[in-house]
């Protein structure tokens, strides 16, 4: 059959219109309930370890529900999406994941979120994890997923070449102590090796500050970043160590990722969730191991929550799903898959968790190690609304000296003071 150009175009246009009308109808019919079934969406970022099999399991237990997951690439994308749609009053998923760094910002608008308190989940989480998710009126607005207890990851091959012990218990004994000790072992190492001791000063600063309750903001909300001696001391300490010990890599930069494959540094601070990143950055490198130790005691870095925005139509069902996803059994599966360490109290010392090992890290018993590192956490840093912008400026200040080498430590601090003043 030969069609003239005009009839062909007409046919295509007609088909397109029909298709449009058809899709228009079908989306209209779905909106939340399709054929008596409730459709719930879960929005996460990076990797929460929520697999299709996990959701299938939930659907089996709750035949009236179907679950769909939307994954954002980064926590930054997730935040922009969350805040925009929370402000607009529609468009959010039924269950939305939140990262601890921007949680405080969200907490100000807790009236836009569903109250998740329930007798079923009482006492499920570590105290400080749950306290951070409770708003001024005592409303629990989020269920904790994971926390980031910190250990030290090290390259045993580089350690051996520099004449340091390689066994993880010996390394733990070697590094046991304060930050001073960690840096002085580093000097010993760099004297005998071409590699640097740690990846970058920014990460060190984060590690130190996470061990203090009041750092950038006082608990009454006042900004004390530029006057707090804790911050200034940590800043000076990491930058003093920078010239000799740092690989001058900014965390998450392309150079940092390439640094893993190039053996640029021998140790790094290791919140449990970073194990997957180390493995992914250079899967061919052998020699990574985890030592059950952290300078200056325990420390937590990062961690996330699930929230249920009040704008959703199926808040009750969403709450049920969030409670199920953050139940110890499910969080354990996520830990095995991704290394996200559970914030749930019950399984911290359960057999299933402590028996987990990680082949890439020389079969290190990561379950046992991070359970002990979690128990060592004594301080929950206070993070309020301005924590994140100020922390970014502080990281910039460190990176100007450590990575860019464009400013002296004093000049960079002065610029930091100006930056904080403009954040207000």
């Amino acid at each position: 059959m030969r069609l003239s150009r005009r009839t062909k175009a007409g046919a295509i246009a007609g088909a397109a219109v029909i298709a449009l009308v058809a899709t228009g109808c079908s989306t209209g019919a779905e909106g939340g309930e399709a054929g008596g079934k409730i459709e719930l969406t879960v929005a996460t970022f990076n990797d929460f370890g929520y697999t299709d099999e996990l959701f299938a399991e939930y659907e089996k237990e709750n035949p009236n529900v179907t679950v769909k997951q939307n994954k954002a690439a980064t926590s930054d994308d997730a935040r922009a999406n969350y805040f925009t749609k929370l402000g607009a009053g529609s468009g959010l998923a039924d269950v939305e994941a939140v990262e601890i760094d921007w949680f405080a910002e969200l907490l100000q608008y807790s009236d836009k979120l569903t109250d998740l308190s329930s007798p079923d989940v009482e006492g499920r989480w570590l105290d400080w994890k749950e306290a951070a998710a409770t708003d001024a009126d005592g409303k629990l607005i989020a269920y904790g997923t994971d926390i980031g207890p910190e250990a030290i990851c090290y390259r045993s091959d580089l350690f051996a070449a520099a004449g340091l012990p390689t066994d993880r218990t010996e390394v733990a004994a070697l590094l046991e102590g304060d930050w001073e000790n960690y840096f002085s072992v580093g000097e010993q190492f760099t004297a005998a090796s071409d590699a640097a001791w740690f990846d970058g000063s920014g990460a060190m600063l984060q590690g130190i500050l996470n061990q203090h309750e009041e750092t950038l903001e006082a608990t009454d909300g006042e900004v004390i970043a530029t006057t707090n001696p804790v911050v200034k001391d940590a800043y000076e300490q990491v930058l003093d160590a920078s010239p000799e010990l740092s690989a001058h890599l900014k965390q998450w930069s392309d150079d940092w990722t390439a640094g893993f494959a190039n053996g640029a540094f021998a140790t790094m601070l290791c919140p449990s969730w970073i194990l997957g990143n180390i493995e992914g950055a250079a899967p061919e490198v052998t020699g990574w191991d985890v030592a059950n130790v952290f300078p200056g005691g325990g420390g937590n870095w990062g961690g996330s929550y699930l929230t249920v925005p009040a704008q959703g139509k199926n808040a009750e069902e969403a709450k049920k799903l969030a409670a199920w996803l953050t139940a110890p059994e499910q969080q354990l599966k996520s830990f095995v898959k991704t290394g996200n360490f559970p914030s749930q109290l019950d399984i911290q010392d359960s057999e299933e968790l402590t028996s987990v090992t990680r082949p890439f890290f020389n079969e290190a018993p990561t379950g046992e190690i991070f359970a002990e590192r979690a128990a060592a956490i004594t301080v929950a840093p206070f993070k309020s609304v301005k924590y994140f912008p100020i922390m970014s400026s502080l990281q910039d200040a460190v990176n100007r000296v450590d990575v860019d080498k464009t400013q002296s430590a004093d000049d960079s601090w002065k610029q930091f003071e100006a930056d904080v003043a403009s954040i207000g």
């Binding site: 392309d254 390439a258 912008p389 100007r400 403009s422």
Partner: protein
């Protein structure tokens, strides 16, 4: 009144009505035909511009929504930010570093493509390939190549004994790297626009010039360039608008997307995004809207200056040519 008179009157009236219809058709139809564009523009272009102006005079939070009326407060705040001025400098610097080489290169490529080459279509499609690649993919590849410690380019520099360049730490190198990405993407596109315009130049001019013994180079400067005047104006204006709004490439230039530790490659559009949506800006839509309006005004001013300058240059060129 007789029946015929009534019929006459009716006929007269019908003709008059028909006349009026065709009169309307004549007067209105052209506007109706172009109206879909303007209706769409009003919804997607004009309304956001006006609404942004409305937002810019309020204290407006991303979640909290509209707050108190602050008048020019947001504009004062933005103008008082050191980073805004750095961003302005960066936008202009990246724009100049990309627009100027781009137009010159595109002209040369178009002139070459206009010659009698073998496999013409292949070469013409070839220059368009970079334009088809997604900007984010381009940025990912280039930012990797421009790595400070382990990048391809610094490795090459090192192998010929040169010092590595701080592509992500120094101001000018970072602008050069970003301008390279922009040029990679847009030069071929502009070359094709120039090529199309070049082919519309009457061949007689060239024949006459050849008889007079003018060289190829002389022909290019005395015939081709002056004849391209309207196209040059178009390309320069569009690349001004695009250049001052540059976002994808600098944002993807490193993984945090904040423009560097001392705002080395923070552009105005990134500044706006950070204020409104970024983690460091605190969701201040009022500040973002004020900065967006300032950018709008800057683009109009620069566009007008460009228009005047291009007109002057192109007409001067014609006069010299004659």
């Amino acid at each position: 009144m007789t029946a015929t008179a009534l019929a006459d009157e009716r006929r007269v009236r019908r003709i008059a009505f028909g006349n009026r219809l065709s009169h309307w058709d004549f007067k209105l139809s052209p506007y109706l035909y172009v109206s879909p564009f303007f209706i769409l523009f009003a919804i997607t272009g004009l309304f956001p511009i006006i609404y942004t102006a409305y937002v810019s005079v309020f204290d407006w939070h991303i979640i909290g929504g509209q707050g108190d009326f602050v008048g020019a407060g947001n504009f004062e705040w933005v103008l008082g930010q050191e980073k805004f001025w750095i961003a302005l400098r960066n936008s202009f610097s990246i724009f100049l570093l990309s627009a100027i080489p781009q137009v010159i290169l595109a002209l040369i490529i178009a002139a070459v493509l206009a010659q009698n080459l073998r496999a013409k279509t292949f070469w013409r499609m070839g220059v368009l390939v970079p334009y088809v690649v997604a900007p984010v993919a381009v940025a990912l590849i280039f930012s990797n190549m421009f790595g400070d410690q382990y990048g391809l380019i610094n490795n090459l520099l090192g192998s010929v004994g040169l010092d590595p360049v701080g592509w992500h730490s120094q101001v000018v190198p970072s602008h050069l790297a970003i301008a390279t990405m922009v040029n990679f993407r847009w030069t071929g596109y502009n070359a094709l626009i120039f090529l199309a315009a070049m082919q519309a130049i009457p061949r007689d001019y060239y024949e006459a010039a050849m008889l007079d013994g003018a060289s190829k180079v002389r022909q290019f400067f005395s015939i081709t360039i002056p004849s391209l005047r309207p196209t040059l104006i178009f390309v320069i204006i569009t690349s001004t608008i695009g250049g001052l709004q540059i976002f994808d490439e600098p944002r993807m230039y490193d993984t945090t997307g904040a423009g560097g530790s001392s705002a080395q490659w923070l552009t105005i559009t990134m500044f706006i995004y950070n204020q409104g949506f970024g983690q460091t800006g605190g969701g201040q839509f009022g500040h973002a809207a004020a900065a967006a309006w300032l950018l709008f005004i800057i683009i109009i001013v620069v566009g007008l200056i460009n228009l005047a300058a291009t007109r002057a240059i192109a007409s001067a060129g014609t006069r010299n040519g004659k």
